[in-house]
């Protein structure tokens, strides 16, 4: 081997106690669309139990046949796979043995901990000849062969583009004394232990390679291949990509406060070269936003991969220090899809990558917190009203897109649920992405931006590399804010119901003097005296009724505006089904508005949040006239 470049080893200040240590040698075989691998895995038993079996993820088997849990959950086999036998993907363990010890290959047994689908082979266990004692370690040597599928979901190949993810036997997480090793599901993403990865990737010459971690060595081999060695500590997965049509751009990024020094690596497909600047700019914004709002980006590299059009199945997916986005060469500048996906996927590097929550069981801790961060970042860099689309007069924000998903959704699932137990892929997405993000935005508006910022920073700092749960997040939010938030999270995390407050009634009536023969302080009223009194001072009984239409409860603020300009702000705990506010004034009220500052973003219907006493005619008229003209022009065009 001829050494092309060698970097000195470096350390990431030992942020997590490594549970796993992988040393993998992988060779890409383009003719077979496969990877031949050798893995040396050292695993530490971090529990206080003796462990007599090990469990592994064999995730490429999700693409092995139509009977896998993944295929069944997604409702059928994609045409891309079905069209050719060579398009399927799988992983075979040729040999697994304890280093310098017994061969365990014959003990491999497939497990289906989530759904008892006996045909699913995405999780396997091996029996150990001797249990691993608490804090003991074991080193295994594994020979494996990974046949990559045509890319349909997250990993695979398209022509000469390879995205190699979930590709090696990856040990499960021994969590709370039990194996937490879930099958590969259509909805869910992943969960694994932190550790050290050293991976040697051998590809034919001409391939451009990107991978998790920093490249520490590149050497040319005698068989016209090149071996790239990547190394990274404090990560829980390793993915890589190779394609001769990638163009590589490297740029250093540093920030003074907080201190960040990293290298941005963009692997852009040749057909998208014109999109280079928007990728780099979005990535720079992402690093800046996350570093300033949560904590400094800790890794020496970040690799952004741009898949080709046919490989978009791998687009928009995150792995430690490497992620994919997507772009089209013809995409107009005002469409911020590339920016949004880039910021979103980079953000996963924090919540999925560094925090490392269990995405199978509590996906919102990654997807929800990340969507919350994405909405805020998009607003900051691309405008409050135009963060997704800004062409001519048409502006749409990222927030509005998320909101549309929420308000149009059914009440089938809550935010917190096992990812594979959702009613459908759509309800999974709506709940763990959008609804969870809106829950956090609503919480931010309730607690105040400063408090929320402190919660997020503390959460990141305290729980990085530690696999926190929802309860950990709630406890931390309560601790930082100094408030009981159980009522909030109990409702919004666990209930599929909706939040909807409305102005139910608005009335203003002139107060009439009592009629008939009445006893007053000064004896009987005279008719003429009463008329005179009325003429002097008219009074109105102004009545506002606020109603709770949804099942969920949230304290409300109500703004009542009067004709003379007077404004009153009322507060209501929102617990009862309705609340009446009455005001006696010499003038009529004009309007009433629940949540006037638009803080309760989870409110399901903004149209009923306000009411005016005199219905507005001019704006409906203008809107209807606009539509009328468009319809007229359409008719004029399509007919003679």
């Amino acid at each position: 081997m001829t050494s092309l470049l060698t970097f000195s080893s470096f350390s990431l200040a030992g942020l997590s106690e490594p549970i796993v240590d992988y040393h993998i040698k992988a060779k890409l075989i383009p003719e077979e669309k496969s990877v031949l691998g050798e893995e040396e895995l050292t695993w530490i038993n971090d529990s206080n139990k003796y462990i007599s079996e090990l469990q592994f993820h064999l995730y490429l088997n999700a693409f092995k046949n139509s009977r896998s849990t993944f295929m069944k959950e997604r409702g059928g086999v994609p045409r891309k796979l079905r069209s050719n036998r060579k398009n399927w993907g799988y992983i075979e363990i040729d040999k697994i043995q304890v280093k310098d010890g017994p061969d365990l290959t014959s003990t491999i047994e497939y497990l289906q901990p989530d759904d008892d689908n006996k045909d699913d082979q995405t999780v396997a266990k091996v029996a150990l000849p001797r249990p691993v004692p608490p804090q003991g370690k074991i080193t295994l040597h594994i020979d494996f062969y990974s046949k990559l599928p045509r890319v349909v979901a997250r990993a695979g190949y398209h022509k000469d583009f390879y995205f190699v993810a979930q590709w090696f036997p990856k040990i499960g997480v021994l969590w709370k004394g039990e194996w937490n090793c879930h099958q590969y599901h259509a909805n869910s993403e992943f969960f694994a232990d932190f550790g050290v990865y050293r991976v040697e990737i051998t590809v034919p010459e001409g391939f451009v390679v990107g991978a998790t971690g920093k490249r520490i060595e590149a050497s040319r081999n005698e068989d016209d291949t090149i071996t790239y060695t990547h190394f990274q500590e404090n990560v829980h997965d390793f993915a890589w990509t190779a394609c001769p049509n990638f163009v590589e751009f490297r740029k250093n990024y540093s920030l003074e406060n907080p201190p960040v020094d990293t290298e941005m690596i963009l692997l852009i497909h040749r057909s998208h070269r014109n999109q280079r600047q928007r990728y780099l700019s979005a990535l720079k914004n992402a690093i800046e936003f996350y570093s300033q709002n949560y904590g400094p980006y800790p890794y020496p590299t970040v690799t952004l991969v741009d898949p080709p059009l046919g490989g978009l199945g791998a687009g928009g997916m995150e792995y430690p220090t490497l992620f994919t986005s997507l772009a089209f060469s013809w995409m107009p500048k005002g469409v911020y899809m590339t920016e949004m996906v880039t910021i979103h996927e980079f953000g996963h590097g924090y919540w999925y990558g560094i925090i490392g929550s269990n995405e199978f069981e509590e996906a919102w801790l990654d997807e929800g917190i990340n969507s919350y961060s994405e909405i805020k970042a998009m607003k900051k860099y691309y405008g409050e009203d135009s963060s997704m689309f800004n062409i001519h007069d048409v502006k749409i924000s990222d927030l509005v897109f998320h909101r549309l998903r929420i308000i149009a959704s059914s009440r089938m699932d809550p935010i917190l649920k096992n990812s594979w137990d959702y009613y459908s892929g759509a309800t999974y997405g709506i709940n763990v992405y959008s609804k969870a993000a809106f829950m956090l935005l609503t919480l931010e508006n309730y607690l105040g931006e400063d408090v929320m910022s402190e919660i997020m920073k503390t959460f990141y700092e305290r729980w990085k590399f530690k696999h926190p749960t929802s309860q950990d997040f709630i406890a931390l939010a309560e601790e930082v804010s100094g408030r009981d938030l159980g009522w909030f999270f109990d409702q919004f995390l666990s209930s599929p119901d909706k939040l909807d407050y409305a102005i139910g009634k608005l009335r203003s009536r002139e107060v009439k003097e009592p009629e008939g023969i009445l006893e007053g302080e000064q004896g009987l009223f005279e008719e003429t005296e009463r008329e005179e009194a009325q003429a002097q001072e008219k009074k109105y009984r102004n009545e506002v009724v606020v109603v709770r239409k949804g099942e969920l409860i949230f304290p409300q603020e109500i703004l009542i505006t009067f004709e003379e300009g007077e404004e009153i702000r009322e507060e209501w705990d929102g617990k009862e089904r309705w609340k009446r506010f009455v005001y006696l004034r010499p003038y009529r009220l004009k309007s009433a508005q629940v949540d006037p500052d638009n803080k309760v973003l989870l409110d399901n219907n903004f149209l009923n949040n306000s009411r005016v006493l005199k219905p507005k005619k001019i704006s409906p008229l203008k809107c209807a006239l606009d539509l009328m003209f468009k319809f007229q022009a359409f008719l004029a065009f399509v007919s003679f």
């Binding site: 219907n605 704006s619 203008k622 209807a624 006239l625 008719l635 004029a636 003679f640």
Partner: protein, 296 residues
Amino acid sequence: MKVLASYGGGIKEATLQPKMIIILWLRNFIFGLALFYLFFRLLTWTIGNSVLADRLLEGFDFSVFFELLVHHDESINLLLTVGFVLILLYFLVSIFLYGGILSILTLPPEAKEERRRLAQTFFQGAGKFFGRFFRLSIYALILWVAFILINLLLNSLGKFLTGNGSNEWIGFYFFWIRVAIGLFLVFLIRMILDYSRIEIVILDSRAVFLSLFKAIKLVFQKFGKTLALYYLLVLTGITVIIVFWLAKPYLPAFSSPWMTMLIAFLVAQLFIAFQGWLKIAFQSAQLVFYIGLTAV
């Protein structure tokens, strides 16, 4: 027959037919008004009571639009259904009016009595040819089916050229080529139908299918000229659309929003009236061209 002379003759004749322009405008206005009324009621009912209504004054607001779409989907569906029914009715009325317009345009100069009783002549012609033109519309489905088949063929060709969509730039350019081809075919079919109707009126023919066939033959025999004339008229329409579009920002703004709306409404109706004028110019110019051909 010269294309430019036909074009000039058509423009002149259309300009001399203010009553017909008014009829065409009125047709369009009534249908527009029907949808306007429904939409106005819907908006007043759904958003008129909300302070969000003010946001509609500032232009199209997607957040309000999405709320409407989700929370009043049944009303929106009703609106779409009514819109669809209106479009169908509009087609029927248009078929009816064709006969009237062509009856007036084909009046010989010596038909003074008919010219004096223009409305009567118009509606007599409309009634007389409605059945035939309706049949023509049914027969024209053959052309529209051919149009769909060509599009499907282009779709397959596109997939082949772009490697099933993986070559973005080819795909992008091919998309626009398809749009151009699609528009060209639409205009071609409309042109054929125009000549077919002219043939039916001039010859007072009941052989509708034959007239369609003869129109196809005529168009392809004089392909360059028929096309040139049609696209001159299309260009006239596009020019005016551009002028309207460029002039839109310069419309006077008044302190009263009612006044601003009124001016915008009047300009919009002027634009629709121009479309009526253009439709007559299309018929008239092609009629002049057709007569010139048959006279030779």
